[in-house]
Each structure stands twice: as C-alpha cells, then as structure tokens.
Amino acid sequence: MQEAIINKAKELLADGRVDRVIGWKKGEFSYDITPAVFETAEEIDAEFVCNDFTSANVSKYLVKETKKDGTVLAFLKPCDTYSFNQLVKEHRIDASKVYTVGIPCDGKLDPEKIKQKGISGIRSIEKDGDMLKIDTVYGDETLKISDAMSERCLSCKSRKHVCYDELIGEDGDVISSNRFDMVEQLENMSAQERYDFWRSQLSKCIRCNACRNVCPACTCEKCVFDNDDSGISNKAAADSFEENMFHVIRAFHVAGRCTDCGECSRVCPQNIPLHLLNRKFIKDINSLYGEYQAGADTDSRAPLTDYKQSDCEASVVHERGVE
C-alpha cells in the first residue's frame, strides 16, 4: 500500500502533473508522524510514510498550499475527502490546484491507547493478523488491533471517497455507524448528570486551541477568539464559564459544516470527547432539518444558511428528551 502510494507520487512528480506532494513524514518512533510537503522523488524515498499511524487529516494544509504556485498532490483517506470537499464548497481551496488521490483506510491506530495499556519503551510496532506485536525495551508485548484503534475510527461513518481524481485500491461504502450512540446516551441523562459530565470533561481544557487549529472547518482568517475586542480571551480560561463558552461557540461555528472527521478529539491533549458536541449538532440537524452530511457534495445549501417555512419552533427543545 505504502509502496503504491509512493510510486504514484513519484510518477506524478516525474511527468510534471504535480509540483508538490503533501503527505506524511517518518518520525523518531514508529508512531510520531508529521504531515509534510515533498518536492522531489529523493525526499519521498527517504521520508514518505503511509501506515497505521498516518492519521493526520492533510486537507486543511491545502488552504495554504493552494495559495502557492503550482499543483499539489494530496493523498486523502475517505474521511479526509469530506473535509476537502467542504473546503472546496466554501471556496477555501482552489480545487484546480490540487490533484487528489484517494487512498483506502482500515482505521488508524492511536499511540496513546497503546501507552495507556501500560506499554512503554516502544521500539517498533508490527501488525500480525489482528494483533499488534510491539517490541519494547522491557520485552515483547502484544495487543489486539481493535484495542489500539482510534476512537473516531471505531465509529467510522464512511469508507467512500466523495471526491478524487484517482483512486488507489477499491472505493468503499458509506457505512451505518454507531457514532450517535454516546450522544443519545447523554441525551437520556438528566440535566444535572449532563452538566456534571460536561463540567468534568471541559474543566480539563487547557485552552491550547489545538482543536480549533487542527479543525478543517475552522479556517477563518481571524478567529473570534483571537479578537481582543470580542472580550473573550483565547488563552487560559479564568472561569468555568469561558470553558463552556469556548467549546459551545466553537462547535456552533462549525455546525452544519463539520464533517465529523474527529481531528478535534484526536489532538486534544486532555482527551476531551469534543466530537460529541459536534455530533450533537449533526444529530439535531439530521432529525430536525433532514439528513445532511457536510462535505458529501459541493453544491447543497448548508443547514444553517437555509430554512423552510415549515421548520419546527425552538420550543421543540423543551418538548423532547429528558429534562
């Protein structure tokens, strides 16, 4: 698989179809992979990597990359194609400057999950059937792949690439996932329980802004939280109100545009399940205004820039679920 991708990249570079390649670069260990831009076949041979840990969604980098001259080749996993499509729809990416190659994905692994099993001193991680063989300085360890799978991949919504110029491997399907289960579980709790749950989660927030900065839907030139005049600091929250405010507003600003790629929760250093806030909006939009998947196309109107005269009233919130 990695070989096919590398060959494709070198082939497209060689025939001048693209000028740069955006992909992933090897790190110090087997799992610390950095998104990177490659310009030559030599660089690609030396450092390009695509494995179970290349989980970073590179579509947001294309906002910056397409402002430069030349064409850039991007390898997109199924979930990345949704982000890409959404960015094209919002005119944030000049699609004519990108050559997209869809690559299959069986779910990515989360190094933190491996470490939380007490596995430390990792030297290498190999796949062996449905097990991981991990060589550590403290001896060999094994772990079921499913136990190391990223949380977001466990509730993958689609293996289908919604856009591509070329595809490596076979295209998959939109799959019925369990992604709203946790949202539903929370909805069925009492208001006090929900409040306690979110306080315990959001109070961990250190306001590093990683969720915002990694989010492919957050591409404002100047974020409202970076605006001194908005009265809300973009740094440490001095009060619990600010923690709530930041996350509610951030989720609201991407409501109807969030493709549920899960990057926010992946990068959160405090493991706050931020995707649940986004999924709540997605679930509400689906149930109140009809099924909608952001990024699935580039021409439909987003739910919050659209309306129907027959839309429900806001009092619907008071009438359903648990108080």
């Binding site: 208001a191 929900r194 009060d239 709530n244 609201f252 919050l304 129907k308 005269q309």
Partner: protein, 149 residues
C-alpha cells in the same frame, strides 16, 4: 441576580427584541398600560437574526438568569427571512445548551408582532415566573461577575 428586601429571588431577564415587531410590541404593551416585570431588560436588535449565539452566552455570563429572543412572526420578517434563519440557529443553540446541562427553561424564542402588546406582556410575565422557579443561573455564570452581597 438581585435580592429584594424580602430576600426573594428576582431574576434578571434579557430580552432581545427585533426593531420592527417585538420592540414595537413592547412599546404597545406600555402605551396600553399593561404590566410586565421590571426584571426584563430589553435589548433592541435590528432583526432576531442579528442575535449572535455569543450575545446569549454573554448575557448569562454577565448575570442574566434567563434570555428570551423575540422577533416577527414567521413570514412577517421585515427582511423577509431573517427570523427563519434565527429560528434554526436558536433551536440548535438551545438544544446544545440543554445538552451540556443548562436548564432548558432559561432560554426561549417567542414571536411577537407590533400589534401584540398583550402577548408581549403575557410572555414576559410567564417567562419571568418560569425563570424565578429555576432560581439563579449557576451553571452558566461567570463567578467573577457575581456581585458580592
């Protein structure tokens, strides 16, 4: 939050009223000598659609115990469709506030036309009573803004 002499809780209610219908409705209820509680602080906005979710959160931060958004009836918006957009936005925002455990009765949307002075007064009376029952806003307040009594 204010405490009167009887130490009974008096909520602070912020009402965002659209300039064309609800604000005029509030005016009408005044000229008709209809009573509505002094707890209600009206903020006039050009259209209900002008209400940014951040305004609502900010009101709670600064000591509001309840926030109500009033606009023209659907179909009557001075700008044709502003209240339709506001309706979707507020529905989703209120649902999210409910989701993070904020009491759902602290927020409301009500359509009040310029001719509905009586409805305005009744709505405010009713909403103030509902919020009074809930007690002071503790879940979405900023402790720094709480007045030391």
């Amino acid at each position: 939050m204010q405490v009167n002499e009887k130490k009974e809780f008096e909520p602070v209610i912020v009402a965002f009223c659209c300039n064309w219908c609800s604000y005029a409705g509030a005016d009408l209820s005044g000229t008709n000598r209809l009573n509505y509680p002094t707890n209600v602080k009206i903020i006039r906005v050009p259209c209900s659609c002008r209400v940014n979710p951040m305004f609502i959160l900010r009101a709670f931060q600064r000591g509001a115990d309840g926030v109500i958004i009033c606009g023209c009836h659907p179909g009557d918006c001075h700008y044709t469709s502003g209240n339709y957009f506001a309706r979707r936005r507020m529905t989703l925002l209120f649902s999210m506030l409910d989701f993070i455990g904020i009491e759902r009765d602290r927020t409301r949307v009500e359509w009040v036309s310029a001719a509905e002075g009586a409805k305005f007064a009744a709505t405010m009376n009713e909403f103030t009573e509902a919020v009074k029952k809930l007690g002071p806003n503790r879940r979405l307040e900023d402790l720094r803004c709480r007045k030391q009594s």
